[in-house]
C-alpha cells in the first residue's frame, strides 16, 4: 500500500515536472480539424453542389480557427506600419481570401488522410506549437500549428508545413514587393489574384 502511495506521489510529481504533451491548444486544433474531416466525409454532400457546401463549411471553421489579423501582422512585419487603417483592413480580408482560395480547394480533395497529434510545445509565454503529422498513403507530412491565446480562445497565427512557415514564406514575398512599391501596389496585386477565382 505504501509503495502504491509513493508511486502515485512520484507519478504526480513527474506529471508536474514534464511539460504536458496534450493541452487546451492541442484539443482546440483537434476539435476544429475533426470538424473539417467530418465535413469532408459527410455522405450527404456530394457532387458539385456538395463540394460548394463543403467549402463553405470549411471556410466557416477556418475563420474560427485562424487569427487572420495576427497572421497578417506577422506576415507584413515592419511593413505593417506603412499601411493605413483602411489598407490594413483590406489587406487582412484579401490575405484571408488568398489563403482560403488556395487551401480550401486542396483540402476538399482529401479523402483518406489520417492525422496524428504528437504534442504541444511552449514557444513563448503566450504562444504554443501544436505538432501533428498528416499521414497519406504515400507520405507523412509534419504540420505544426502555432497558436496564441487571446481572451481564453486559442487561435492559429502560423502554420509550419515540413519546416516551412507560412507566415515567413509570405513575408519574404511581400517584403520583396514592398521594398520598391507602396502598399497600394501590393493590395492591387492581391485584389487581382483573389478576384481571378
Amino acid at each position: 500500500m505504501k509503495i502504491v502511495i509513493v508511486l502515485l506521489a512520484a507519478y504526480s510529481l513527474l506529471g508536474f515536472a514534464i511539460p504536458s504533451f496534450a493541452g487546451p491548444a492541442l484539443d482546440t486544433v483537434k476539435g476544429e480539424v475533426d470538424g473539417v474531416l467530418k465535413v469532408l466525409k459527410d455522405p450527404a454532400l456530394k457532387g458539385e453542389t456538395g463540394k460548394k457546401a463543403k467549402q463553405e463549411q470549411i471556410r466557416k471553421i477556418s475563420q474560427k480557427m485562424f487569427d487572420f489579423v495576427e497572421l497578417s501582422k506577422r506576415t507584413l512585419g515592419i511593413n505593417w506600419n506603412k499601411f493605413s487603417m483602411p489598407q490594413r483592413q483590406e489587406f487582412v480580408d484579401l490575405y484571408k481570401g488568398l489563403l482560403e482560395d488556395a487551401y480550401v480547394d486542396k483540402i476538399t480533395s482529401y479523402t483518406d488522410e489520417k492525422i496524428d497529434y504528437i504534442k504541444e510545445v511552449q514557444l513563448s509565454e503566450s504562444a504554443v506549437e501544436v505538432q501533428s503529422i498528416v499521414v497519406t498513403k504515400s507520405a507523412a507530412i509534419p504540420v505544426y500549428y502555432r497558436m496564441l491565446n487571446k481572451d481564453g480562445q486559442w487561435r492559429v497565427y502560423d502554420v509550419v508545413i515540413e519546416g516551412v512557415s507560412l507566415v515567413n514564406n509570405y513575408r519574404s514575398q511581400f517584403r520583396d514587393i514592398l521594398a520598391n512599391n507602396p502598399p497600394e501596389y501590393l493590395l492591387d496585386t492581391l485584389r487581382k489574384k483573389v478576384q481571378k477565382r
Binding site: N79, N81, S84, K150, V164, L190
Partner: protein, 299 residues
C-alpha cells in the same frame, strides 16, 4: 537489376556521365566567382537596414490609429496594441539566402516550371494510369534505399552515432528482407524511422553557410554549399552521377528519368497548389528552400 560493382570504376568514368556531371564541375570551377559575388551581399542588407527607421516613424501612425479605433471594425483593431511585440518576433525568425544571381536563377526557375508542365507532369499522369500507387511507392523506396550510404556516412560525419546505426540497420534490413529496398521493411516491420542527412547538411552542421542561392535545370533550388554537397553525395549513391557503381549511360539516364517521373506521379497537384497560393512563386520557393535547409541542418 544488374548493377556491376567493379574495382576499376574510377579508371574510366564514361564520357556521357562526365557531361552529366558538368553542372557540379562548373559550380566547383566558378566557385571563386560566387565567393566574390557573395561579398556584394552585405550591400543588399544595408539597403534593408535603411528601412529600419520605420520603427521610429511607427509612433505616429499608431497614435492616429487609436483615434480611429472606435469607429472602425473592432475585430481588426483590438489587436493593434501588441503590434510591436509581433514585429520583434517576426524579424527574428526571418531566414534569408543571398541571391545576387536572381535574373539567372529566375530564368532556370521558368525553365523548370515549363519542364514540369510540358514534360514531367504529362509523363507522370500517363505513368500513374498504368502503374498502381502501391507499386510507385515501392519504386520510390527502392530509389531511397539506393542513396542509403549518403545518409549513413553523413550521420557518421556529424557524429550522430545513433542515427548512423539506425540508417545502417535500415539499409541492411531493406536491402535483404525488403527485396533490394522495394519495401521499407525497417520502418513498416520494425518501426525504425529514417534520418535524412546529406553532405550539404554536414557542411552546414560545421558552420558552412549557403554562399548564394542557385537554381539548377531539372534539379531545382540549391546553393553553392548544397551543390557541392550533392556532388559529394553522388559518390555515395548507387544511382548518383559519380557513383562507384558502374552503370551504363542509357541505364543511368533511364533510372534517373524513371525516378523523377515516379516521384512526380506521387505528388501531382502539389506544385500547382503551391504556385496558385504564391504571389511570387520564385521568391516563395527560394524562401521555402532556405527555411527547409535551415531546419534540416538544425535537426
Amino acid at each position: 537489376m544488374m548493377l556491376k560493382v567493379s574495382g576499376e570504376t574510377w579508371k574510366g568514368v564514361p564520357p556521357m556521365r562526365a557531361i552529366l556531371a558538368m553542372p557540379i564541375i562548373i559550380a566547383l570551377i566558378i566557385f571563386p566567382v560566387f565567393l566574390y559575388a557573395e561579398s556584394t551581399v552585405p550591400q543588399d542588407e544595408g539597403q534593408n537596414d535603411s528601412q529600419l527607421p520605420l520603427t521610429i516613424v511607427q509612433a505616429q501612425p499608431e497614435s492616429s490609429t487609436e483615434e480611429t479605433v472606435k469607429d472602425s471594425d473592432a475585430d481588426v483593431l483590438v489587436d493593434l496594441e501588441d503590434l510591436e511585440a509581433g514585429e520583434e518576433m517576426s524579424e527574428e525568425e526571418t531566414v534569408g539566402i543571398a541571391d545576387p544571381l536572381q535574373p539567372w536563377n529566375r530564368m532556370w526557375y521558368h525553365f523548370n516550371d515549363k519542364a514540369y508542365f510540358w514534360m514531367f507532369k504529362p509523363m507522370a499522369q500517363g505513368y500513374r494510369v498504368v502503374v498502381p500507387e502501391g507499386f510507385r511507392v515501392c519504386f520510390r523506396n527502392f530509389y531511397t534505399n539506393a542513396t542509403a550510404p549518403v545518409r549513413i556516412f553523413n550521420n557518421l560525419f556529424q557524429l550522430k552515432i545513433e542515427y548512423f546505426f539506425k540508417e545502417l540497420v535500415r539499409f541492411l534490413i531493406n536491402t535483404t528482407i525488403g527485396f533490394v529496398g522495394f519495401r521499407d521493411c525497417a520502418k513498416d516491420c520494425y518501426g525504425i524511422q529514417p534520418h535524412q542527412e546529406d553532405f550539404g547538411q554536414t557542411l552546414g552542421h560545421y558552420g558552412v553557410g549557403h554562399g548564394i542561392y542557385l537554381v539548377w535545370p531539372f534539379l531545382g533550388p540549391s546553393s553553392v554549399r548544397d551543390t557541392i554537397g550533392t556532388g559529394a553525395d553522388s559518390f555515395l549513391s548507387f544511382t548518383g552521377i559519380l557513383s562507384p557503381v558502374d552503370l551504363e549511360v542509357p541505364v543511368w539516364v533511364g533510372l534517373k528519368t524513371h525516378e523523377l517521373v515516379n516521384d512526380t506521379s506521387l505528388r501531382i497537384g502539389d506544385y500547382e497548389i503551391f504556385k496558385e497560393a504564391a504571389i511570387d512563386p520564385y521568391i516563395s520557393i527560394r524562401d521555402g528552400y532556405a527555411q527547409r535547409r535551415k531546419k534540416a541542418v538544425q535537426e
